[in-house]
């Protein structure tokens, strides 16, 4: 561990801060891992600085226009009629009476737009509006547009739907039964299994045979939802010339563009998708939704703009949230703890439709090997359909649930072997520049640095010994790894995953065009910072034009923590393209080689003699005179290194981030209430382009992890969502948050833009098991299912030590 610690932000004192530096009171530490080259961001003028976000002014003044803030002349308002049945055949839909209501302009049923679709090409099982069958309470069946929202809502009451109810399939166990009706007609299945995965790597039998001890556990991770503060909203408008424009609160404008073209059967060139600032996503806005396609269809049909904004209850129905997953883990270890083999089984409750579920299924297994060395690994995954709102990707997509299970399991192993849980994890940590048994390429890896930093800053070992087990106070640790973007696009193609264009104006202004969608993670500020750094200008000189399919090159979207790595690299390449031209002209004017030209503080200069310089403006004008319009494209495609097997597309990433969380809790042994007293989280981000933004992502991940660990759950009463509102669906408030210490570890990834990896999702994953492990330290028993609510804690206390709270027998695989 390096002793070098730079409090707050690392800046180069020789270079003036552009804008103003935040006066951060939160204790934050940047630690340069000593084994890595050039980890200190010396010489950067923008990268590494805690600058305000480029959209901060718009967001604090209320000027930022979100989708629902858009108002167009003659705009109509749409509403969806949703199923009251969990599982039923639709015998008839009669919307004619709704049309008679004054103010209603048009109605729509499933027959109007019958093309099936799905975000994954492998599971196109959704209809814009249900035609033959409804599959969950809340499944859209019909739609109305009217002059105002109230009239549209009233008109829904006049639509008559005749249902023939079918038995509802509400649990994983029910879905595995062969005597219940199938949600989707799949002749290859006798039950409601959607996807099965069976993968094996290395010699499992030999691995278990070599083990001194074999540990086995079962866990359950409850489903929960994103609950972004902004309810999904769309405005669609068909221009007089027939071009359709869709403004949607989406993390993936490109995928909406593709699927709108497919479902509306229009050329993609006649559709423009724009994502205005998105009011939170967390994975919940990464695929096309019925309301978006309905608005598009009805805008064309009526010739008037149509807006549909979901109510909060409808947001719970749209869902695509965290899959409930039950998990079984079996691990063989040597007496010193070295893992010899691991077998992981997962059962995912997918809800009514495919969504990203095939990928989610693979993700529950794929990244198990990226944290600790596992020489032999078997994974069996099974996703089922149930009559509930469809599950999909939520922050940590499919890896959060097994990380909870695995980190609790590892803690139990450490306890059983009498090992310090932090030191043990360090010993079995994966190494940098290695390949896992399932063929995943690990490059930079700061897991050991994260373990050291989090354990030292929290005084983990000391407190673990000092606090007597089972007396109400506990401390727990957990680690994890996450992707920096999926190695493969969700539809097969050989094109870049991210594209960007940088254009420099003869007035010295720089514009970057890129298809990224900013859902609050700060992608626009990241793009501006990378371009400003490359061209040596102020961040405020850079305009970001993003998320508009007409104007920007494709970026696949804000999911899988891919944007900084992929769009950042594309932006850097584009900026380098312009920089080369400027450098060439400047080198001629200054009489030095182009390689010797530096860019900083709006000047272009000889790096060996900075007095020899041009202003950026002079250099730009000379370059435009020489080359014409100054612009350059950039593209990024991740390296292809996936081994060849079915399912190998899920798991590879150009790099992995690493996180370690230490949680300190106080459990009331009388009431079972868990209070998180302090969180310490160390995250290997590669390089912090903006340390404030990285901290913000870490703190947000900690917050969401606390919610998932202690209170958030998608609960059902019979066939209905029990709590589809923000009062009963508990999320942490400002009163529930403990002090958080964040530690940024920089490993300077060799392929990341300026060395950066990701921070959006990774830091959430270790929080939940760290809290679970702290609770297990504070009480004698252990809670094996999330959320860790008082009733479960009390039952674990009753069981008095190590008892399994909940066992659902693992069904045999076909």
């Amino acid at each position: 561990m390096s002793d070098e610690r730079v409090v707050s932000t690392a800046t180069n004192p020789d270079i003036d801060a552009a804008g103003f530096t935040a006066d951060s009171k939160v204790e934050s530490i940047l630690i340069a891992a000593d084994s890595k080259p050039a980890a200190k961001p010396e010489g950067f003028s923008v990268v590494g600085k805690a600058l305000p976000k480029t959209d901060a002014y718009a967001k604090v003044t209320g000027a930022a226009l979100y989708a629902d803030d858009i108002v167009l002349p003659r705009m109509l308002h749409g509403k969806l009629l949703r199923s009251t049945q969990a599982h039923a055949r639709i015998k008839s839909v009669n919307a004619s009476r709704a049309l008679d209501l004054p103010g209603v302009v048009a109605v729509m049923t499933g027959a109007d737009l019958p093309v099936k679709y799905g975000i994954l090409p492998s599971s196109p099982d959704e209809e814009v509006l249900a035609r033959d069958k409804v599959r969950y309470v809340g499944d859209p069946v019909a739609a109305v547009v009217a002059d105002d929202e109230l009239t549209a809502e009233e008109a829904l009451e006049l639509i008559a739907v005749e249902y023939e109810p079918l038995p509802a399939v509400m649990t994983i166990d029910a879905a595995l039964r062969t005597d219940l009706p199938k949600l989707h007609d799949n002749p290859r299945r006798t039950n409601n299994v959607h996807k099965e995965v069976h993968l094996e790597f290395g010699d499992l039998d030999a691995g278990f045979a070599a083990a001194d001890q074999v540990f086995e556990d079962e866990f359950f991770f409850e489903g929960n939802t994103h609950a972004p503060m902004e309810q999904h909203s769309v405005v669609a408008s068909a221009g007089a010339e027939g071009k359709l424009t869709i403004w949607a609160s989406t993390q993936t404008p490109h995928y909406l563009h593709r699927i709108a073209a497919q479902v509306l059967q229009m050329p993609a060139s006649r559709i423009r998708v724009i994502a205005p600032p998105v009011g939170g996503g967390f994975g919940g806005k990464t695929e096309p939704f019925a309301h978006e396609l309905v608005a598009a269809f009805l805008a064309r049909k009526t010739g008037r703009p149509v807006k549909i904004t979901l109510t909060r209850e409808e947001v719970f129905f749209a869902h695509r949230g965290r899959h409930p997953v039950k998990m079984k883990i079996r691990t063989g270890v040597k007496s010193d703890g070295e893992i010899t083999a691991c077998h992981l089984q997962t059962w995912l409750d997918g809800g009514a439709y495919g969504s990203y579920g095939v990928a989610t299924t693979y993700y529950t297994g794929a990244l198990a090997t990226v944290t600790y060395k596992i020489p032999a690994y078997k994974f069996d995954g099974c996703r089922v359909f149930t009559n509930k709102p469809p599950c999909g990707p939520k922050r940590g997509h499919g890896t959060t649930q097994p990380r909870f299970a695995f980190e609790c399991h590892i803690d139990k192993i450490a306890d059983a072997l009498g090992l310090d849980a932090a030191e043990y994890r360090k010993r079995i940590s994966v190494d940098e520049n290695t390949t896992t048994v399932n063929g995943l390429r690990v490059t930079s890896c700061g897991l050991r640095e994260c373990l050291d930093a989090a354990a030292q800053r929290s005084r983990y070992a000391e407190k673990r010994k000092m606090l007597p087990k089972g007396k109400g106070k506990g401390i727990g640790i957990a680690a994890s790894a996450y992707l920096c973007g999926a190695g493969l696009a969700i539809y097969w193609n050989e094109m870049p995953h991210s594209g960007a264009i940088v254009k420099v104006d003869r007035g010295g202004g720089v514009t970057i065009y890129c298809g990224t969608s900013d859902c609050g993670q700060g992608s626009e500020s990241m793009l501006a910072a990378i371009v400003a750094e490359t061209l040596g200008v102020d961040v405020m000189d850079v305009s970001v034009c993003a998320s508009d399919t007409d104007l920007t090159p494709v970026d696949l979207g804000s999911y899988s923590s891919r944007v900084t790595f992929m769009a950042g690299n594309a932006a850097r390449q584009a900026a380098d393209g312009v920089r080369e031209k400027i450098a060439l002209v400047a080198s001629e004017k200054l009489g030095v080689s182009a390689a010797q030209i530096g860019f900083a503080r709006r000047r272009v200069f000889d790096v060996n003699d900075p007095a020899k310089s041009l202003t950026f403006l002079e250099a730009v004008q000379a370059a435009e005179a020489r080359f014409g319009t100054l612009a350059a494209p950039g593209s990024y495609a991740p390296p292809r290194h996936a081994p060849e097997f079915k399912g190998s597309g899920v798991g590879p990433s150009p790099a992995y981030s690493y996180s370690v969380c230490v949680a300190e809790v106080d459990v009331d042994l009388d009431t079972g209430e868990v209070l998180v007293e302090r969180i310490t989280l160390a995250h290997d981000v590669g390089r912090a382009i903006n340390p404030d933004s990285v901290e913000g992502q870490i703190e947000g991940g900690v917050y969401m992890g606390i919610g998932e660990a202690l209170m958030e759950e998608s609960a059902f009463r019979g066939i209905e969502h029990k709590i589809p509102n923000l009062l009963d669906y508990k999320t942490p408030t400002s009163l529930d948050m403990p002090p958080i210490e964040t530690i940024i570890i920089e490993t300077n990834d060799r392929e990341g833009p300026y060395g950066a990896k990701e921070a959006g999702q990774g830091p959430l994953n270790p929080v939940i098991p760290a809290i679970a492990n702290a609770v297990a330290h504070a009480i004698k028993g252990r809670v094996y299912a999330t959320p860790i609510t008082s009733d479960k804690v009390l039952r674990a206390l009753d069981a008095d030590g190590g008892a399994v709270l909940r066992v659902r027998r693992a069904p045999a695989h076909a």
Binding site: T61, Y66, P102, G103, G520, S734
Partner: protein, 163 residues
């Protein structure tokens, strides 16, 4: 055409100006601000008083505009996010939030700012706990509240040091 009751004409005092507007009397203050006055800075996140995104200040008190009828606000002084900055100068709460990264997706931000401004007007020297209490009705899914609370602390210090 609409099934809504006939509009009424009313004068509302918003951000120091009198605004004359016609609206259906069954509309909430939130709806009238956003739809009839065009002040879209005030957000909606639940329409049930659960999330705080729609917070405005009425007569110096924070109010959930989704639970108030617009007709109830006639004769009262309404302040929205659009009226917090004066002549292009950000309020210290806005400045501190922008500087610290306390606004991520920004959707809860207007409501947070209104709650914080009302808090600081009533209690210029809040403790960290006072701030957490004052903002406990405003949900934020992005930030974990740390940078927001820190920003309000900074704003409070700023306001006190101002001449």
């Amino acid at each position: 055409m609409s099934i809504a009751p006939a509009k009424i004409l009313a004068s509302l005092s918003i951000n120091g100006s009198v605004v004359e507007c016609a609206f259906n009397p069954n509309k909430t203050l939130l709806e009238v601000l956003r739809e009839d006055v065009g002040l879209t800075g005030t957000k909606h996140g639940c329409e049930m008083g659960h999330c705080g995104a729609c917070t405005v200040i009425v007569d110096d008190k924070p109010v959930l505009s989704c639970l108030a009828l617009a007709v109830e606000s006639i004769g009262h002084a309404i302040r929205t996010i659009e009226g917090v900055a004066s002549e292009g100068t950000l309020h210290p709460v806005q400045r501190a939030l922008a500087a610290s990264g306390g606004a991520q997706c920004g959707y809860c931000t207007p409501g947070i700012i209104m709650s914080a401004v009302a808090l600081l007007e009533q209690n210029p020297t809040p403790t960290r706990d006072d701030i957490a209490q004052g903002l406990s009705g405003n949900l934020c899914r992005c930030t974990g509240y740390s940078k927001i609370i820190e920003a309000v602390e900074n704003a409070s210090a700023d306001l006190r040091s101002a001449p």
